[in-house]
Amino acid sequence: MAEFLSLHDAVARFVENGATVAMEGFTHLIPFAAGHEIIRQQKRELTLIRMTPDLIYDQMIGMGCVKRLIFSWGGNPGVGSLHRLRDAVEHHHPVPLDIREHSHAAMACAYEAGAAGLPLAVLRGYVGSDLPKVNDQIKSITCPFTGEELAAIPSIRPDVAVIHAQKADRHGNVLIEGIIGVQKEAVLAATHSIVTVEEIVESLDTHPNACIIPGWAISAVVVAERGASPSYAHGYYPRDNGFYKTWDAIARNRESFAAWMNDHVMNARPEESTR
């Protein structure tokens, strides 16, 4: 059953040094507030999983929290590179970053398989790609009915999943609406889960097939208003595309990055750190 915790306490309780952490949100509902709190608590040696490492992972990597990244597309969407990610891969700064790279289709299937309690995901994937040559976690199985060889990858089963959602009710049942990505799968696949929400409401008051994660399938629910900004929360605030563009210049340079993180994250209180 979900506990209602502060952001500080949820991160302190569930995100241990060395943990495997999946913070999801496909462009929409990216859990920035939680990521900033992980940075503030100076967690180290994390294995981070995410289909689309976004600014939040750029920040966590640049601040030295991360030893390994499992991902399928690592850029600033529509803008360009994630410079802190590149610096870590290309120059091992601030610490070496081991990468384990997939395609979106494979990672989506691996989350699905993790949620389904299976050890592997099966897909018709990676045909002709060099990715299996550089990722020894991409293997294959043979279909016993057709003889077709299909790609197999390990399911994703993180220690902790962290997502942001629109709202929770007083029982910790969480509603996700709009671009729902792989958030439900991430939570169900993980041992522990933290869900930050814009607000707590009396009733979710929605339709019969809404994407709702029951409170009993979540470890902690945390109120974090604007907790996805500069990403967005459908029905609450739009994506701050301007900031995404601005980030390119901030992150391009180690010093300007450090200064920005210092001002906006390290010396901010949890409720101030998102923008």
Partner: protein
């Protein structure tokens, strides 16, 4: 009515040509950036019934402005419905519902293999690029693939450093001799590469890219200079049709709307 040529940029020429390739009613899995611009131009001009699908899960979306990311709110708000990302890749792409996969790339080689992973060696890259994203399976599970990319020697290389996304493989035969069940689900692969200079198509036999049309005013030498291998030209080389005034107007208006929308609040 055609637009006076001097007024049209090579980039606009590329976008309009790519847009025209997309038939009305076609189901198109749209990559971000250039393909998104072209696919939406098609929808706003000759192909109002084109079905646009983005990997964020937005099915049949009709954005009024171009998304900056593949998951902008605009895509969801104007979609028929929005499904989970696993469902998007499993049911809609792998399930065989996509006619055209529309991709951009950082590098492309003579067999239309795409590299969006890195320049140099995998473990010690000179330049680390974003990676494959949806492209590896968009390229194999769509019935055909259009590639749209600005042409230069840096981009058009003889052999890509890394095959993120297969075209026809290192020797052009990657789509031959597949298991029948795989073959039944694999598309034909890249059928057109549309650049700011020309249109290329794979040779029907050996699958090497061949220039089949030059954009108006572009010379063979310009294409040769911008290609990192000894590029072949079709025997009957066509000239791409000039964009109409309407196409250019719709495109410019779309881009202006988009720019105003994304300026947003900055830091």
């Amino acid at each position: 009515m055609s637009q006076p040529l001097a007024d049209i940029t090579p980039s606009e020429m590329m976008t309009v040509t790519a847009a025209r390739a997309l038939g009305n009613g076609t189901t198109c899995f749209v990559g971000i950036g250039l393909p998104s611009e072209a696919a939406n131009l098609a929808r706003l001009t000759h192909a109002p019934e084109a079905v646009l699908i983005y990997e964020s899960g937005t099915l049949q979306t009709r954005p009024d402005v171009l998304p900056l990311s593949i998951g902008d709110g605009e895509l969801c708000e104007t979609a028929l419905t929005t499904v989970s990302v696993p469902e998007m890749f499993r049911y809609w792409l792998q399930g065989g519902h996509v006619d055209v996969g529309f991709l951009g790339t950082a590098q492309i080689d003579r067999y239309a293999n795409l590299n969006t992973t890195l320049v140099g060696d995998y473990r010690e890259p000179k330049v680390r690029l974003p990676g494959g994203g949806g492209a590896p399976e968009i390229a194999t599970n769509s019935k055909e693939v259009f590639v749209m990319v600005k042409q230069s020697r840096r981009t058009f290389v003889k052999d890509v450093d890394f095959i993120t996304t297969v075209g026809f493989g290192r020797d052009g035969t990657a789509r031959d001799n597949l298991h029948p069940e795989t073959a039944r689900h694999m598309g034909r692969g890249p059928t057109r590469v549309i650049t700011d200079l020309c249109v290329m198509r794979p040779d029907p036999v050996d699958h090497e890219l061949v220039v089949t049309a030059l954009h108006p005013g572009v010379t063979r030498d310009q294409v040769i200079d911008a290609t990192g291998w000894d590029i072949r030209f079709a025997d009957t080389l066509e000239t791409t049709a000039i964009p109409t005034a309407e196409e250019i107007e719709v495109l410019r208006s779309l881009k202006a709307r988009t720019e105003r929308h994304h300026a947003g609040d900055t830091v």
